[in-house]
Structure formats: structure tokens, C-alpha cells
């Protein structure tokens, strides 16, 4: 019951913004541009990278942590993918696996420092953010790495360019698809597994969790690892979408991701939040940006409006009855 209400409520803000978007959508030859399927999928595609980051962030925030490094890790991963494909002539699969592994390890390391040395996640990942950024620049040699496709050496396998395409009759952008799959898996993982109970427990009352024999440190480390892994994935999607590995890309993305999670009803003190909410939060921001740009709203005014809506959306969540695991 509460669960139902809660889920409903985390969608509430999105519904409102969506309706507003429909109302304010510009019309071209009798058709609402916003509702044009191509446009709707653009919204999802545009948010897919942030969305994937936000899913990982959800876990971190659930245990009462935070991960400021995801944006830089995204950049690092995009560079990694590009360099491996173009300069090292890796195949698609090896390159992807290598990058995912790197993201995972980076996250695990941050997890270890947080859990074992007990240093606050904010500061650990703030450092991680700088370190990943530096690595991205060093690794890329400073310049963005262009991904050209073809069989010749120095060119990436065309398969990788799939990330820039649309499937299902040229309708669904692949990144949107990946985002959907990731979110789906995470949502299930967070409902049916014992692991999920442990995640919620740590965020809700770490001492109680420890006394109940929950392997607190291990869970924490895994959660940061997962978040790093997904940041790596987001970076791969990024590189595939833009045919480009950008050492400076993804900066500030961590803030968008955190915002999505909080708008989705999570508490930064941990123990409350759901993937469904996070996805709703991400889409809310995406829809908002889209409709504002569709109407050519001045970029500064956009910033203003987005800022206000974010607060309002977070406010909506306050009406929520206490969350459930």
C-alpha cells in the first residue's frame, strides 16, 4: 500500500511536467512537436547517460553515501573506449569489457577507502573526481579522441557505431534501450534480492545492520563498485553516441544524476529511494529541458526555470508517507 503510494508519488512530478510539456508544445502542421515519437525518444536518449549514472547513484545514496566522481569516470571511460578502439585496435567486446572493468575497479577502490578507512564518501569521491579527470586527460594526451569507423588500422569496428543508431524500425535509440535495460535490472535487483535489504538497512541504521550480521563493509564496497561500473557504461554509451572520447566530458553530470535521484524521492541521509523514482526524476529533467528548448527559451531563463522546478519536484516528495524497502 505505502509502496504503491510511494511509487505513484515519485512519478507525480514527472506526470505534471509531462502534462505541462504537452500544453506548451509548439505545433507544426497540426501536430504536437513534443509528442512526436521521434522527439520523445530524443528525450530519453538525451537523458540516457545521466539516467545510467543516476541508477548507480541510487544505490550509493541508499547506503547514505554519495559519489561525485561519476561524471569524470564517464569522461575517462569515453576516452578509454576511444583509445582502445582507435589506437590499440581492440575489438568492440574486449574494449567494452576492459572499460567496464576499469570503472568497476575505480568504484571498488573508492568503496574500500570509504568503508575501511571510514573517510566520508563526499570527500573520497571528490578526490576521485579529480583523479579520474586527470587520468582521462593524461590517457587521451589532452585532445579528444575521434572515433572513425572502418576496418583499416586506426579505425574502430563499425559495430561500435551501433550506439549512435536507432533500432526497432529506426525508432528507439540504442542508448535509450540500454538505459531502459539497466534501470529494469536495477529495479528488480533492488526488490527481490537479500542484497537490496542490506543496502536499505545500512542506509537506515548502519549499527543495526552491523549487529544483525549484515556484511556492511562488503555491501558498501560493492555498491560503490556498481556505481563505478555503470559510470563506465555511461562513458561507453557517450563515446558511441558522439564517435568521440572527450577527456573533459561529463563534468557536472554527477550533479544532474544526484538531482535525479533526489527528485525521485530518495533521502541523501540514506535508506529511502527507489529506481523507479530515480528514472522518473531523470526523465522529469529531460522533458523539462526538451520542452524549453523546443520553445527556444533563452538558456539563462532555462537555468532559472529548471532550478525552480527541481526544488518544487523535491518538495512534492515531502508529501510522501515514509518509504518502504
Amino acid at each position: 500500500m505505502t509502496a504503491w503510494l510511494f511509487r505513484f508519488q515519485s512519478l507525480f512530478g514527472l506526470v505534471l511536467v509531462f502534462l505541462a510539456a504537452v500544453v506548451f508544445s509548439p505545433v507544426r502542421n497540426g501536430e504536437l512537436l513534443f509528442l512526436d515519437s521521434g522527439n520523445l525518444f530524443n528525450v530519453v536518449r538525451a537523458m540516457s547517460e545521466i539516467g545510467i549514472l543516476a541508477v548507480g547513484m541510487t544505490f550509493v545514496i541508499l547506503i547514505g553515501g554519495i559519489d561525485l566522481s561519476v561524471g569524470s569516470v564517464l569522461g575517462l571511460a569515453s576516452v578509454g573506449a576511444a583509445v582502445l578502439l582507435v589506437r590499440q585496435d581492440f575489438g568492440v567486446l574486449p574494449a567494452v569489457l576492459a572499460v567496464l572493468a576499469a570503472g568497476l575497479v575505480f568504484g571498488l577502490l573508492q568503496g574500500v577507502v570509504t568503508a575501511k578507512l571510514g573517510i566520508q564518501a563526499f570527500i573520497v569521491t571528490l578526490a576521485g573526481m579529480q583523479i579520474a579527470r586527470a587520468l582521462a586527460r593524461i590517457f587521451s594526451g589532452g585532445q579528444g579522441v575521434e572515433i572513425a569507423y572502418g576496418d583499416a588500422p586506426g579505425r574502430a569496428p563499425t559495430a561500435f557505431s551501433l550506439l549512435g543508431e536507432r533500432t526497432f524500425g529506426g525508432l528507439v535509440p540504442v542508448p535509450a534501450l540500454i538505459f531502459a535495460v539497466v534501470a529494469g535490472l536495477a529495479a528488480v535487483l533492488l526488490r527481490v534480492t537479500a542484497f537490496s535489504r542490506h543496502v536499505y538497512a545500512i542506509g537506515g541504521n548502519e549499527k543495526a545492520a552491523r549487529l544483525s550480521g549484515v556484511p556492511v563493509d562488503r555491501v558498501k564496497i560493492l555498491v560503490f563498485g556498481l556505481c563505478g561500473l555503470l559510470a563506465g557504461l555511461a562513458g561507453i554509451v557517450h563515446a558511441g553516441q558522439l564517435n568521440y572520447g572527450g577527456p573533459n566530458d561529463g563534468s557536472m553530470a554527477e550533479l544532474d544524476a544526484i538531482a535525479a535521484v533526489v527528485i525521485g524521492g530518495a533521502s541523501l541521509s540514506g535508506g529511502r529511494g527507489t529506481v523507479v523514482g530515480t528514472v522518473a526524476g531523470a526523465l522529469l529533467v529531460g522533458v523539462l529541458r526538451n520542452i524549453l528548448t523546443l520553445n527556444n527559451v533563452d538558456s539563462n531563463v532555462q537555468l532559472l526555470i529548471i532550478g525552480l522546478v527541481i526544488v518544487a519536484a523535491a518538495g512534492l516528495q515531502r508529501l510522501r508517507p515514509a518509504a518502504v524497502g
Partner: protein, 517 residues
């Protein structure tokens, strides 16, 4: 059966926290099928000794043997695997998780796919809760439970381990009589089934009823061991305190003849947004005269806490009907500051969540309510601040290493005294107390009761919600019985005894708990 090798034998156990030597070379054994009471003043080391046994506290010296085998636990999980489980003094539950999820946290039943087996979890939880005699929906989030209910959940959780050694650290501290009775039945069953039970409590009456053996700790040392069936409360408390304790109650009584201070007439609250599980006042009338000590009795969830919270202006916001007068003036406090301005002070039920900043110094915690007042041009004179804290600490006999010590490092009883002290510093006309002696030792209780009598003598009115019958009859002049948010009876302790009081508070509820039990 008692002459079999003990389940647990602890020998030469010592544990210190920084400077504090919590346990010094203690011996302790638990036999199968016995209830072994562990007694001692606040800070004597009872919890610490048991935390050592339950694997919650490491870094101790000495040896623990289970069935003669030496063990050293890495953590609670180890201890649980060895069949030892502990109901800790602080209610360690996860607010956002459901009752069932809390009970099985860390040991979730799984399906063949390795996923959570919710169905099995719920049915198992229902059985366990039934055993503790509480009728709770296992799906409810724990944060919506009352303190008492939460305590029952921790008990169910401990039962779920069906441990061979079950440590209960003050399991009844938040349980009113009826619920406590049910717990005693459970303990009897466990004992019969051959489990060893360690029972920590500051309620002497319970010890007499339950325990086979009793060990007394003082300043971390084992100072006495009794056959609990022969032991008298006097012997026990003398061993605990190290001197004769002049009898607990009786000193307590204030005057019933004072001028009307607090008058509550048909008070009812219709909340703007009702909070599930809260028992808002639904027709309460009572009266507290200056210098009078009035008790509030009732079952779990009868609405005692809510009444006190409402009077202090921290109840659920909503419409009041009925009237509340203080010194004849009608009042309707909207918050603590307003209540304090009226001269109302409030000692909340749970000192850890609502009473103290545990990381902060005793000094800071004690003077918090008055720093604003003693400040000149916003500046707090350090000397006056210290003096205020110091005198309070002395007045309440708070034992501490220094005013700079973190409140969290004090034992339960001393923590409670700090909260009480803060409230007295505000020099209230009316003092609201919600289970103020919860987890407080006999000695400290005696001091607190003396204190209440003292301030009552100075004309302060006291409204005291308590779950302990002896306390109500012993300390109060009158006791008002609440049931489902209504005041249903009023007893003069001069005439009425504990039995009468228990009957009154249970009312028809008695039959209810009979069914579930």
C-alpha cells in the same frame, strides 16, 4: 540439569574504553535451562560484559568458553552462529524496513533462485510475533511502531535465532505490565526448552519472579552471586550500590492539597494529517495541583506519550477540542518554546533519539535549554555555563569523568539524569515526564524520586507517565489511567494497590491479550 557443564563460561574478562575500565576481571557463567539475572547500577558494566559475550565488543582480555570450547568472536554474526543472541538495550532497528524484514535482516530466507522469499518471511514473522503476544502486521515499517512495539520486535528477532543462549538487556524497560507479563511467559517456555537466558533489568520485582541465579556487578567487578529465589531486593540493591539503599518509594509523595496548576478538560486532538499508529488524545480530563505528582498509567499505545507531547506543543498538529488551563489561564502551546515560556518542561521517552546529542559534551547537553537565557548580549559567560552544568551534575549525582565527556559515553541512567537536569535548569512550574526511569538503576531511581519529591515540595506540579506499576503506586499521589486515548479511571495511590491499577489499565484489553497469548 543445573550441574551439567555450563553453556557459557566467561573467565577473567576485562574491557576498558580509553580511560574507563568498564569490566574488570569478571567471571560469568550461563547454564542450560536457567534464567541468570545480571544486576548492577548504571554504568556497572552489564551491557558491556554481555556485548563481549555477544561478539558486539572486541578488544577485551580474558577467555570465553562455549560448551567448554574456547572461542573468540569476530562479530555478532559469529556469536549468533555459536547460538548466542542478544536483545540490546538500545532498540537497534531499521526504521524504513518492515517488521518482518527487520526480524530476518542478515538472515533473509531465500527461494531456490536465491531471491528473497517474502512469503516465508511473513509467515515466520507472524508466528514469532504471536509468541511475543503482540498483534502486529509484519509488513508495517518499523518507524510506524511505538517504542514498546519496537521492543517486542527486537524480542521476536532474537527468538527467530532460536538461540541456546539468549541475552535480554532490559527487555521490559518500555513495556507496560500487560506486555511484560506476556514476555515472562515466553521466557518461561524458553527456559523449559533448555535455553540459557541472561536477564538484565533494573526492576527488582521481575528478578524475584524470573531468575534462578543473580550476579551483581559493581564498577565492572563481580561483587556477589545469589540464588535468586532466596535473594531479597534489599540484599541485591545493597550489593549493587555498596551500601544500604533507604527504601525506594514513600519518600516520593508530594502534596495533593495545592492550588490547581494544570487542568485538562475533555481534551481531544483531531490531527490535520493523522499519523498511522499514533493514539491522539480522544477525551482526556485530569488535574495536577501545585506540588502534586500525578501518574499516567496505560497499556502500550494507550496515548500517554501523545498526551504529554500534546501538552508540550509537539503533538501532531491539528484541531483541539476541550480545554487546557495552566494557573487558570487557558493555553494551547504550538511548540516547545511556547510551552517553556508557560513554564512547562518535558523529559521525552527516548533519551537517545530525542534527548541528547550523544557526540557532544555533557556540559553542552545540560545547559542547552538555558544558554539563551544566561547569555548577555548573546555571549555566554563560560564561567556561569560551567557552574550551571556542574551544580546540576552534583544535584543529580551524575557520575562522569568530566563535563567534557561525550554524553554518549555515559551509562543509560546517567544519560537520563542529564536530560532531567537540563529540564530542571529551566525552573519549570509543570514537569512532564515520559517513562523517566526507563533503564535507570535502583540507586539512580531513588535519587530521581527524591528529586521529584523535592521539586514537588517547592510547588512544582509533576505529570509522570510510567510503565512500572511500583513506580506509579510508589511515587504518585494519584494515577490517571488512559485507555485508547481516553482517561478512564483515577486512583488514589493511598487506597489503590498495584493489582487494582493493573486491572484498571488493562480493562477489556486483558481478554484481548489473553487470546493472542
Amino acid at each position: 540439569m543445573t550441574d551439567r557443564a555450563p553453556l557459557v563460561a566467561m573467565t577473567g574478562i576485562s574491557k576498558s574504553y580509553g580511560g574507563v575500565r568498564a569490566i574488570r576481571d569478571a567471571e560469568f557463567t550461563v547454564r542450560a535451562g536457567e534464567v541468570h539475572a545480571l544486576l548492577g547500577e548504571n554504568g556497572a558494566g552489564k551491557s558491556t560484559l554481555m556485548k563481549v559475550l555477544a561478539g558486539e565488543v572486541g578488544g577485551y582480555r580474558g577467555e570465553i568458553r562455549i560448551d567448554g570450547e574456547p572461542v573468540r568472536f569476530g562479530g555478532p554474526a559469529d556469536a549468533q552462529r555459536a547460538g548466542i543472541s542478544m536483545i540490546s538495550q538500545e532498540l537497534d532497528l531499521v526504521p524504513a524496513l518492515s517488521v518482518a524484514e527487520n526480524i530476518f535482516l542478515g538472515r533473509e530466507p531465500r527461494t531456490r533462485l536465491g531471491t528473497l522469499d517474502r512469503r516465508r518471511m511473513l509467515t515466520a514473522a507472524r508466528e514469532l510475533l504471536a509468541r511475543t503476544g503482540v498483534d502486529l502486521e509484519p509488513k508495517r515499517p518499523v518507524e510506524h511502531l511505538r517504542t514498546g512495539e519496537q521492543q517486542l520486535v527486537t524480542i521476536a528477532k532474537a527468538l527467530s535465532l532460536d538461540a541456546r543462549v539468549l541475552i535480554m538487556d532490559e527487555p521490559t524497560s518500555a513495556l507496560p505490565p500487560a506486555e511484560a507479563e506476556q514476555l515472562f511467559r515466553v521466557i518461561a517456555e524458553l527456559r523449559a526448552s533448555g535455553a540459557g537466558i541472561v536477564y538484565i533489568s533494573h526492576r527488582m520485582a521481575e528478578i524475584g519472579r524470573l531468575a534462578d541465579r543473580a550476579t551483581v556487578l559493581r564498577n565492572g567487578r563481580v561483587v556477589a552471586e545469589f540464588d535468586a529465589r532466596e535473594m531479597t531486593a534489599e540484599q541485591a540493591s545493597e550489593a549493587m550500590v555498596g551500601r544500604r539503599v533507604d527504601q525506594l518509594y514513600g519518600t516520593g509523595h508530594g502534596r495533593a492539597d495545592g492550588l490547581a496548576l494544570l487542568e485538562v478538560e475533555h481534551l481531544a486532538v483531531r490531527p490535520r494529517r493523522p499519523v498511522p499508529g499514533r493514539r491522539e488524545p480522544a477525551g482526556i480530563s485530569l488535574r495536577v495541583a501545585e506540588g502534586e505528582i500525578v501518574g499516567l498509567a496505560g497499556l502500550l499505545g494507550s496515548g500517554r506519550t501523545e498526551l504529554l507531547e500534546t501538552l508540550y506543543g509537539v503533538g501532531t498538529p491539528g484541531r483541539w477540542t476541550g480545554r487546557v488551563r495552566l494557573h487558570g489561564k487557558e493555553i494551547h502551546p504550538k511548540g516547545p518554546r511556547e510551552a517553556l515560556r508557560h513554564g512547562i518542561a518535558f523529559v521525552p521517552e527516548d533519551r537517545r533519539t530525542s534527548g541528547l546529542a550523544l557526540e557532544h559534551s555533557v556540559l553542552a547537553n545540560t545547559v542547552l535549554s538555558v544558554v539563551g537565557r544566561i547569555a548577555r548580549f548573546g555571549v555566554v559567560p563560560a564561567a556561569r555555563e560551567r557552574r550551571a552544568a556542574m551544580s546540576t551534575a552534583e544535584r543529580l549525582g551524575i557520575t562522569l569523568s568530566g563535563l567534557a565527556a561525550p554524553a554518549g559515553s555515559l551509562s543509560g541512567g546517567n544519560q537520563q539524569k542529564v536530560v532531567l537536569g537540563r529540564n530542571l535548569l529551566t525552573e519549570p512550574a509543570l514537569l512532564l515526564l515520559d517513562d523517566p526511569t526507563r533503564g535507570v538503576d535502583v540507586g539512580a531511581k531513588a535519587e530521581i524520586y527524591r528529586l521529584l519529591a523535592e521539586i514537588a515540595a517547592q510547588g512544582v506540579g509533576v505529570l509522570l507517565a510510567s510503565s512500572e506499576l511500583a513506580e506509579l503506586t510508589g511515587v504518585c499521589d494519584r494515577v490517571v489511567v488512559l485507555r485508547e486515548g481516553r482517561s478512564v479511571r483515577e486512583l488514589h495511590t493511598a487506597e489503590a494497590g498495584e493489582a487494582e491499577l493493573l486491572a484498571a489499565s488493562m480493562g477489556e484489553a486483558a481478554t484481548l491479550s489473553g487470546e493472542t497469548g
